[in-house]
Amino acid sequence: MRQQYFFVYYVLLTAIQVLLGNYFTFSPYLMVTLLPVMVLCIPTKYHTVWALLIAFATGMVVDLLSEGILGINTFALVPVALVRRSVCQAIFGDELITRQDDFSIRKYGIGKVLFAIVIVHSLFLVLYLWADAAGARTFSFNALRFACSLAAGLLLSVFVAEILTPDDRR
């Protein structure tokens, strides 16, 4: 089921991200994004090269169609694709990569999945906020923005992970 529908859900979530980028900008302290978890959930059978290209294409689509600096999502998302397999390997074990298996909340538990999401989401936010602030904002402003965005992003990301990595046994 997962292999069949993954990219359909992926494209739909990209469209949702474009809408989030255009309509859900409530505060300068809040930046809501689904992109890091979407890249994290790319099936492990796809090599890092493919993940990098998918992340680049996704970032470009979001950058072109939503508000913000052209290239900023791409810039922050490509490194997430680079570390995706290492994060999965470190948190879910070597077996996941060697068997080209995929993680899910049911298989590995909410704690481990949340931990993986926190890592990729933090990496994305650090790069995004650093590029967005362009040295013009104070550290305290960026730190508060990071904390608010991470908290809001995690809630949504768990939901996205549940959609993109359904357990086949269900």
Binding site: N22, T25, F26, S27, P28, L30, H47, T48, V49, L52, L53, F56, G59, M60, D63, L64, L65, E67, G68, I69, L70, G71, I72, T74, F75, V78, P79, L82, A131, D132, A133, A134, A136, R137, F141
Partner: protein
């Protein structure tokens, strides 16, 4: 041999990663200024047509507030016209007749905002006027209550402007009519908040003093009221950073005035000659 087999894919990943990151950085560096870059053009047209269209729905529900503000502005302008006419009669300044829409080298025209981004650090505007309407790069976007942005790229029917709510935009501003001059930048938090930087310590001011455009820029004419002084702090013991509350809430603006300086090319030419 197996080691070599492992190194090659790692090398390929590293090379592709670097190429993609460099490409993303190039897009970031060229955003907005590459009006001839086809991707930027497509992006701006899409944003204007699709997101601008949806913004019109929101604008419809804000019409009542906009109408009240227009009525208030209309009354104030009528008062000004009456006062100016009386002044003109008194001084016999008939030469002013026929200068409608132009003051000195500055040319004014009406404009409207099709898309106004807000809530981000790098905000922008898309205007419903383009090169066919006489808009050029570095045209200023103002209202009677302040500066809204600067046009950065121009298409045939639309223009892309950097909003004042963008750290890349800095306006030369003056405290009062004769006070110190410094760069005014957005504070990054409020849509009506700004910081006037680099004001020497010897200059005195009070909360409530008006901040205006200085006229030292070739983009904006002098004496456009921008906001009032809120409070200040001393930076590095050398200058004041003054918090300014803007008159105009830029996130809510729909109708604007576009101001172009016909003498700008000549000024730039002179600056080029003087720059070694």
């Amino acid at each position: 041999m197996p080691q070599r087999r492992r190194i090659l894919p790692t090398l390929a990943v590293a090379v592709i990663f670097i190429v993609l990151e460099v490409a993303a950085l190039r897009f970031m560096r060229s955003d907005g200024i590459m009006q001839d870059f086809f991707l930027a053009r497509i992006s701006h047209v899409f944003k204007a047509k699709v997101w601008g269209g949806t913004q019109r729905i929101g604008d419809y529900f804000a019409l009542r507030g906009a109408n009240d503000r227009l009525a208030e502005e209309n009354f104030r302008l009528a008062q000004q016209v009456r006062s100016l006419e009386a002044d003109r009669e008194r001084r016999h300044l008939d030469s002013l007749a026929g200068t409608f829409g132009r003051i000195g080298d500055f040319r004014f025209q009406r404009g409207n905002i099709v898309k106004n981004s807000r809530g981000r650090q790098h905000n922008y505007l898309i205007l419903g006027q383009g090169s066919e309407d006489g808009v050029t790069v570095h045209t200023g976007v103002i209202t009677s209550r302040g500066v809204v942005g600067i046009v950065d790229a121009v298409g045939r029917h639309y223009s892309y402007a950097l909003s004042f709510l963008n750290p890349e935009v800095s306006i030369s501003a003056r405290l009062g009519r004769d006070g110190a001059v410094g760069p005014l930048v957005w504070d990054g938090v409020r849509t009506d908040g700004a910081i006037l930087r680099e004001i020497p310590l010897q200059h005195k001011f009070n909360p409530g003093d008006t901040v205006r455009t200085s006229g030292y820029s070739s983009i904006f004419p002098p004496d456009i009221p921008l906001g009032t002084v809120e409070d200040s702090k001393i930076v590095n013991g050398a200058t004041y950073d003054i918090r300014v509350r803007l008159f105009e809430d830029i996130s809510a603006v729909r109708y604007v005035t576009l101001v172009s300086n016909d003498g700008r090319a000549e000024i730039q030419e002179l600056e080029k000659e003087e720059t070694p």
